[in-house]
Amino acid sequence: MSSVAVAQAQAEAWVQPSKGRVAMFCLILAESAIFTIFVVAYIYNLGKSLYGPTPQVLEVPIWNSIFLLSSSLTIWLAERAVEHGKIKVFGLWWALTFALGTIFLVGTGVEWHKLITVDGLTISTNLFGTTFYSLVGLHASHVILGLIALLVVLLFTVTGHVREEHAERIQVLALYWHFVDAVWIVVFTVVYVIGR
């Protein structure tokens, strides 16, 4: 091997992507495929129920969506805070994100309670029930997983274990949360806008 080539290789900085980010993108890619299949099943089955409640019984969850989507803003603010080492500010924005996510879940629960007890719509009622609860439920389960992760980080923050050098890991987790919110935009559009 010529010494020139070796010297050149060593002189250039060797930069590669961060493996945490790459892994999270891969996970998001895989999850997107799952959600796509459930969305396709929902759209395909629109109007195909032979009986039972139709999408007209749905009330558009405007407030719930505002809460969830603003949690993307709060988590972004949290990311910026920890980047600059402002742990207390980070903790506040992070806790707010967690709260907004929880409010969204509660709102979903209230909505489902109304659908089940008032409109008689369950997962086994008809095609609409099956596809609706599956799709929205799949999203909600991902919100729950996200909230668990957020809670763990919140506990670490409160006990003083989070520092500025953890910024990158927190950003990787935040990527997941942004994904969950992005999926909600799609689900919201398909179920409450197009589907009705």
């Binding site: 790459v22 892994a23 997107s32 086994s124």
Partner: protein, 565 residues
């Protein structure tokens, strides 16, 4: 290394110290293997798992071939036959096909990119054990559950599990549940392993190894992993939907409630077609390493090979309905899928031409790995051509679900993939164990297997053309299929003998094989710069590379690759 067992961490090439056999030593050794996060050990575990289930799936194949050797045989009842052929397909695709991929990838990728381990070693271990337990759950079905006809609860609705046959109304037992649950679990294992492969290939390369200097083995496994992420997940989604139907009263595939049998088929094949590319691309990965080394030439057209692989992955996402030509799509729909399917033949053909061009002008050494790879090339060509035949929708209306299709896909799965797996094992076994596999046994293995393969799968095209459908436990005596089935079964028995020779070779050579040294094949990629087997840390110093074939540059300083790339 006559006295050692599996590679001991930290060993550097020479014989490991004699191990005292006692129960504590054995338990310590077992514990080491169970809790390991070392990519080499996990790679070996994946391969042992794959080989084990290759044998199990092979036994299932032998049972099928005995039942079908003559018309109206009563060796297996229809219930048992339906379980055996469903399990044969499910086992071979998920427990052999999806595991050999990560066996080779896990073992070799860190070594080839000059890294110490995979990007996420603990995720690696989790992925393996998820796959392992998923397989166990699948096989537990033979004995668990209350069994429907007194024949256990093993899945019995074909490996495609078409609805509404799998709905509660038509499958009241637990067979589809075992199928869906075990594959959901192994699916999570696959996702984890794929993420690991991508992250390692993109983020852990040694200095100087740009993406266009990655060994093609790594490229192909990276493309496979990307494809797997969006291929396996649709199946997971569909299986969750099936379980919702079966347990929560859902109606996704409940045709009596307005649900659709068609949509299961679409979802399954949206998984199923890219899946076969997930299975076959890693066999290309192996060929891309073996053929150049044994032809003594660099791979011809490296950039085209990369582009063709990525192209195949993308186009393969758009061809799935060629499995559904007879389901009643419109003429326009059918025509679209004819076109997309034939288009995927173009990058695939390019790869074949590149391999031939690599051999052209070379000095080919026909050791066992190259024997298997040459047969692979020839057989993959034929498999591709019968694939083109099947892409012609009107002809597909005759050949779909017949023995012609079975012949075609076994030509790919056995003729290409299993041959490549054997080539890869003969090639890298010396690296993993420090011993060469016996060339003499290898040649016996090869010739028996290739003859048995052709006797079975060449002949198998004929009953398909004569109107024999698949998934039937027996056939009428007056259809004229008896003689052909007899020949097919004989070839199956010959292949079984060949595989037994191979299994014997693996074990015999582990104890008595010739010592391999670092680089028994005079090869050019980084794994051959380590001792055989490599120490736990792989490389004492991080390598620095300046071309696609770092060892060629070292061996041929007067004519290094980086002048030409």
């Amino acid at each position: 290394m006559a006295d050692s067992t599996f590679p001991v961490p930290g060993a550097i090439g020479a014989a490991a110290p004699r191990r005292q056999w006692s129960q504590t030593a054995f338990l310590a050794w077992l514990h080491d293997w169970v809790v390991t996060v070392d990519h080499k050990k996990l790679g070996i575990l994946y391969m042992l798992y794959a080989i084990f289930f290759l044998l199990v799936g092979g036994v299932e194949a032998m049972l099928i071939r005995i039942q079908l050797i003559r018309p109206e045989m009563h060796f297996l009842s229809p219930e048992v036959f339906n379980r055996v052929f469903t399990m044969h397909g499910t086992t071979m695709v998920f427990l052999v096909g999806m595991t050999y991929i990560f066996g080779f990838a896990n073992y070799l990728i860190p070594l080839m990119v000059g890294a110490r381990d995979m990007a996420f070693p603990r995720l690696n271990a989790l992925s393996f054990w998820l796959t392992f337990f998923g397989g166990l759950l699948l096989y537990y079905s033979f004995i668990g559950g209350y069994g429907l006809y007194g024949a256990g609860s093993a899945p019995d609705t074909m490996w495609w599990a078409y609805s509404p046959l799998t709905e509660r109304a038509f499958s009241p037992g637990h067979a589809p549940d075992y199928w869906a649950l075990s594959l959901i679990i192994t699916g999570f294992g696959t996702i984890g392993a794929s993420i690991n492969v991508i992250a390692t290939a993109l983020c852990m390369r040694c200095k100087g190894m740009t993406l266009m200097r990655l060994p093609l083995f790594v490229w192909l496994n990276m493309v496979t992993s990307f494809l797997a992420l969006i291929t396996v997940t649709p199946l997971t989604a569909a299986q969750v939907m099936l379980l919702i139907d079966r347990y929560l009263g859902g109606h996704f595939f409940d045709t009596q409630a307005g649900g659709s049998a068609l949509i299961w088929a679409h979802f399954f094949w949206i998984f199923g077609h890219p899946e076969v590319y997930v299975l076959v691309l890693p066999s290309f990965a192996i060929a891309n390493e073996v053929i150049p080394v044994f032809s003594r030439k660099a791979i011809f057209g490296y950039p085209a090979m990369v582009a063709a692989s990525v192209g195949i992955a993308f186009v393969s996402l758009g061809v799935w309905a060629h499995h559904m030509f007879s389901i009643g799509m419109t003429s326009v729909g059918n025509a679209f899928f004819v076109l997309s399917t034939q288009l995927v033949g173009i990058p695939t053909g390019i790869k074949i031409f590149n391999w031939v061009a690599t051999m052209w002008g070379g000095k080919i050494r026909f050791s066992t790995p190259m024997l298997f790879c040459t047969a692979f090339l020839f057989q993959f060509l034929i498999a591709g051509l019968t694939g083109i035949i099947l892409s012609v929708a009107p002809w597909n209306w005759q050949l779909h679900n017949s023995y012609f299709v079975i012949a075609h896909f076994h030509y790919v799965l056995v003729g290409a993939i299993v041959f490549a797996i054997f080539a890869g094992i003969y090639y890298w076994y010396p690296k993993a164990t420090g011993r060469m596999l016996s060339e003499k046994l290898g040649k016996w293995h090869f010739w028996l297997f290739v003859i048995g393969f052709h006797v079975t799968f060449d002949t198998m095209h004929i009953p398909g053309i004569l109107g024999m459908p698949r998934s039937i436990f027996t056939y009428e005596a007056d259809r004229g299929w008896g003689t052909w089935n007899f020949i097919v079964s004989i070839g199956g028995f010959i292949q079984a003998i060949a595989v037994l020779v191979f299994a014997y070779n693996l074990i015999y050579s582990y104890f008595k094989g010739k010592s391999a040294g670092n680089d028994p094949w005079d090869a050019w990629t980084l794994e051959w710069a380590t001792p055989s087997p490599p120490p736990a840390y792989n490389f004492a110093e991080d390598p620095v590379v300046t071309s696609r074939r770092p060892l060629w540059d070292i061996k041929h300083p007067e004519d290094p690759d980086w002048r030409y790339e």
